[in-house]
């Protein structure tokens, strides 16, 4: 108890001096190795560091995509070969494909949109086209 009494007897300076004299902890040696191992390894970088490198290619791609969309809209043709060319080149449509397109049309998708589907085979295209013409005549 007599030893504990010293805090009341100490001045602030005395207390500070006593505390300053206490030994200090040091980080464990393996922590240094763990941290320094990162300096020889590829630096873990934040994604933000890559932004400048990505910016120009991304802009070019965006402009290219815009140009393609504008081009297809102005010409009124899809990216896929024109239906006429497709008719000349492609083979007959499979039964599944015709079924799919019918389902699409039945689900309310406008025929004109269904006909612009890029994987549309020529026979399907012609069948849908006939159907569209018939509907137009009927209407």
């Amino acid at each position: 108890m007599s030893e504990h009494r010293r805090y009341r007897d100490m001045t602030d300076e005395g207390l500070e001096t006593a505390i300053r004299g206490l030994p200090r902890r040091e980080p464990r040696a393996r922590l240094r190795e763990r941290i320094l191992s990162h300096s020889s390894a590829p630096t873990p970088r934040r994604i933000s560091a890559f932004r400048p490198a990505f910016a120009l290619p991304a802009l070019v791609l965006l402009l290219l995509a815009d140009w393609l969309v504008l081009r297809s809209q102005s010409s009124g043709t899809p990216y896929s070969p024109s239906p006429q060319a497709a008719v000349a080149q492609a083979g007959p449509a499979s039964r599944e494909e015709i079924g799919l397109m019918r389902d699409l049309a039945a689900s309310g998708l406008p025929l004109r949109l269904a006909m612009r589907h890029p994987s549309l085979q020529p026979e399907t295209y012609l069948e849908l086209r006939d159907r569209m013409l018939n509907e137009a005549d009927g209407g």
């Binding site: 108890m1 805090y7 602030d12 206490l22 902890r25 300096s39």
Partner: protein, 182 residues
């Protein structure tokens, strides 16, 4: 006791090696100059060895990540401010019961002279009762022997605020030490 006072002198600045890749930071030099003081500061704030080591790891890695991100005017201040942010993030993450049970400061109890061990233990316990900000200022002032101006620069505070925070913390520490006597 014979403890070295790393930060009383101007710390060694890590070298920026000139190179075509925008300069390479010498992490080893930065670690050797600042890790001890950062670790003790983090340890006193967090009162948990593993958390302090993890926080120090993050601080040093942060230095690596910003390689090429411009010159750091005052590396020591930069590291201490990063350490402080890491510590407060860790404190927000942790559970309350961990905080209450932890008693740990910059003082190495195992290395104490027998005559000083009571003081070291009392100090550890009293520090655990102080708010983290006050613990941090006490650690920098008494653990690292820094001036108020240096502490203010490290913690991005006005020097007067650093001084008043320290005096408040010391008075409270003293009351806690004295209250343990009875």
């Amino acid at each position: 006791m014979g403890t070295s006072r790393v930060l009383t002198a101007e710390p060694a600045r890590p070298r920026e090696e000139a190179g075509g890749n925008g300069g390479r930071l010498d992490l080893g030099a930065a670690y050797d100059a600042h890790a001890g003081a950062l670790y003790r500061y983090l340890l006193t704030l967090l009162a948990n060895r593993e958390e302090a080591e993890d926080a120090l790891h993050e601080v040093m890695l942060g230095l690596l990540r910003r390689r090429g991100g411009g010159q750091i005017r005052d590396l020591r201040a930069y590291l201490f401010q990063a350490a402080r942010r890491q510590a407060f993030q860790a404190m927000r993450r942790r559970r309350r019961d961990q905080e209450a049970s932890a008693v740990l400061s910059w003082v190495d109890l195992e290395a104490c002279d027998p005559a000083d061990r009571d003081l070291a233990i009392d100090l550890d316990r009293a520090l655990a009762e102080l708010p983290a900000e006050q613990r941090g200022v006490i650690a920098l002032k008494l653990g690292e022997d820094l001036t108020f101006r240096e502490i203010a620069a490290l913690l991005d505070l006005p020097a007067n605020t650093a001084a008043s925070r320290y005096r408040l913390a010391l008075a409270r520490l003293r009351r806690l030490l004295e209250s343990g006597e009875s």
